[in-house]
């Protein structure tokens, strides 16, 4: 027992456990309130007021939904594969919750002279971990969709599977350019490299960022890529047969995924917990409050910045959802395989060339991009044309 205490003391086990718990709770909380936010945002975008009866401004809405779902009849269809039917939503929820483990939400706190990083686990293959977890996320959907023994569910599951696999490729390739820049797989290192404002990867990797965000939409099954569950085609898609809390898990997992992908996007491209003039702020804090307290307050500000980025990311997900129509299955595949993957390769080449050229990276990237666009336009202008310049001719 003594040994354990010593070990715990050395590794700051309790603090770490506390941070993990807090991150876990915040993830769940944000996901729960994302459902409320989604309804509110949808309402405001559509000139409605959204839920406003359950509590002030409808704030109790997620609780009402959860309460209802818990006490709803738990229904397993007779023809369904019982175990897999239960396994599906659990897997979905599990993988969704796992992904935020390696996200650095803030710098570090100084406690008792020891440094506690604001991150659940720090591993040096952070991106690969995220990637691995994301690639598993599709199982929940596939298994659930298949086990329901319903044609609409199965179609949804199949769509989900092919969509997720396809977009993972483009996503991975867009990340490779980031890895080339940073030379590390650790999310914390990548975030630390974007210290300040102009160092954010989005300025070095605009194209990569775009591809990554598009893929994030696809991986989260959000409009315009919500084919696995699109209401007007497949009724409910993979979760057509689900009721009660199992359905709740699926819906919840979607929001957790949104949270996780916003967090990862913020870390990879938007500087994570970094914000403009943070050095000045930190210096002012340090001189005002002393080293320890100043550092901790600075970290807290960083965490707030990180969360505001994540929340904006979630808002962006919703904003896009209520704006655009969705793709068709084959168009989605075409976009992934014939659009995003080649673009990601181009992005890699541009990055590589600009790294080798030795010019300041950002300039090299932008020049490369402009050259690419010019070439593309020239090729486009010289393509053989048919007589009638109408759509689809």
């Amino acid at each position: 027992m003594n040994g354990f205490m010593q070990w715990a003391n050395e590794t700051m086990f309790l603090w770490k456990a506390l941070i993990i718990l807090v991150i876990f709770a915040i993830t769940l909380g944000i996901a729960a309130y994302s459902t409320w936010a989604e309804r509110k945002v949808a309402g405001y975008i559509q000139d409605r007021s959204g839920p406003n009866r359950a509590g002030w401004g409808g704030l109790l809405q997620p609780l009402a939904d959860a309460g209802k779902m818990f006490f709803k009849e738990d229904f397993i269809p007779a023809q369904a594969d019982k175990w897999l039917f239960i396994l599906g939503p659990c897997l979905s929820m599990l993988t969704a919750l796992m992904s935020s483990a390696v996200v650095p939400f803030g710098d570090s706190f100084l406690i008792d002279g020891k440094t506690v990083t604001v991150q659940a686990i720090e591993i040096n293959i952070g991106i690969l971990y995220v990637f691995g977890v994301v690639s598993l996320g599709v199982y929940g959907v596939m298994i659930g969709g298949w086990a329901s023994n319903n044609k609409f569910s199965l179609l949804g599951a199949i769509r989900a599977a092919s969509q997720n696999i396809s977009y993972e490729l483009a996503m991975g390739m867009s990340i490779i350019a980031i890895l080339m820049l940073s030379g590390s797989l650790s999310l914390r290192t990548i975030v630390e490299q974007q210290h300040g404002f102009l160092n954010w990867n989005v300025f070095y990797q605009p194209l990569g960022c775009l591809i990554f965000i598009v893929c994030a939409f696809a991986e989260c099954n959000r409009t315009p890529f919500d084919l696995p569950e699109c209401e007007t085609e497949l009724v409910g898609g993979y979760h057509t047969e689900y009721s009660s809390m199992k359905l709740g898990f699926y819906l919840f997992a979607e929001y957790i995924n949104m949270f996780a992908s916003s967090a990862v996007t913020a870390c990879l491209f938007f500087g994570g917990y970094n914000y403009p003039f943070m050095d000045n702020v930190q210096a002012a804090l340090n001189s005002g409050l002393g080293q320890t307290v100043g550092h901790n307050v600075g970290t807290a500000i960083g965490i707030l910045v990180m969360f505001s980025k994540i929340l904006f990311g979630i808002f962006f997900f919703m904003w896009v959802r209520w704006t655009v129509p969705r793709f068709r299955y084959d168009q989605l595949m075409n976009l992934g395989w014939k659009g995003l993957i080649p673009l990601a390769v181009v992005n890699m080449i541009i990055t590589a060339v600009s790294m080798l050229s030795g010019y300041k990276l950002a300039i090299g990237m932008w020049v490369g991009l402009i050259v690419f666009v010019v070439i593309l336009s020239v090729v486009w202008a010289m393509r053989p044309r048919k007589k009638a310049a109408i759509l689809g001719a």
Binding site: I45, Q46, D47, R48, W380
Partner: protein, 184 residues
């Protein structure tokens, strides 16, 4: 096939490279939606806020009384005939002596029932009534029902309450037109 000289082809011109990149339409779309995000909402907070339904809205039925509080209905049955849903039924009765203060005409409806779930609120009964007795209120709905037994409204629910008279600006369309002229 050209049949007239008024045909006009719709626009179906090809997309430019820029438009093909998805980005311009996405940007305009996002612009439109965010503008709506900050717009004033037209939502009516219904149970608290009620909307004026227009001067001739066809709502809850009412059997009018005249100025002296007598029932106007003479049980001629025209409303029942005019009703496409056959929702109105009535039993006529001769007015007895001493009931002149209750009924305006010599005959009156002893039973007057409307099946509120059959009724389609088309207003034909109001139009058919020669005695201006039956009206569809412009200010009140028929409430929702939870029991099948409640849906047939008898005279107790239909006849106007003398203490809480139903008022409207114009009782006929001719009156309404006069009103417009006066207001103009």
């Amino acid at each position: 096939m050209q049949l007239t000289n008024r045909a006009k082809k719709t626009d179906k011109s090809e997309l430019s490279l820029f438009e093909r990149s998805y980005l311009p339409s996405l940007a305009t779309g996002l612009g439109i939606t965010i503008r709506h995000f900050f717009m004033k909402k037209p939502t009516i907070q219904y149970p608290e806020q009620k909307r004026y339904l227009g001067p001739v809205f066809r709502g809850h039925h009412i059997l009018k009384r005249d100025e002296e509080g007598r029932e106007r209905c003479t049980a001629c049955g025209l409303c029942a005939v005019a009703c496409p849903a056959e929702a109105i039924s009535m039993v006529a009765q001769e007015r007895k002596k001493g009931e002149e203060h209750l009924y305006r005409e010599e005959k009156y409806a002893a039973v007057y029932e409307i099946n509120m779930l059959r009724c389609i609120f088309c207003g034909l009964c109001e139009e058919a009534c020669p005695k201006q007795a039956v009206y569809l209120r412009h200010d009140q709905f028929v409430p929702v029902f939870t029991e099948r037994e409640d849906v047939i409204y008898g005279k107790d629910k239909l006849v106007e309450d003398p203490n809480n008279r139903y008022r409207r600006d114009a009782w006929t369309k001719e009156d309404a037109m006069k009103l417009w002229k006066n207001n103009a």
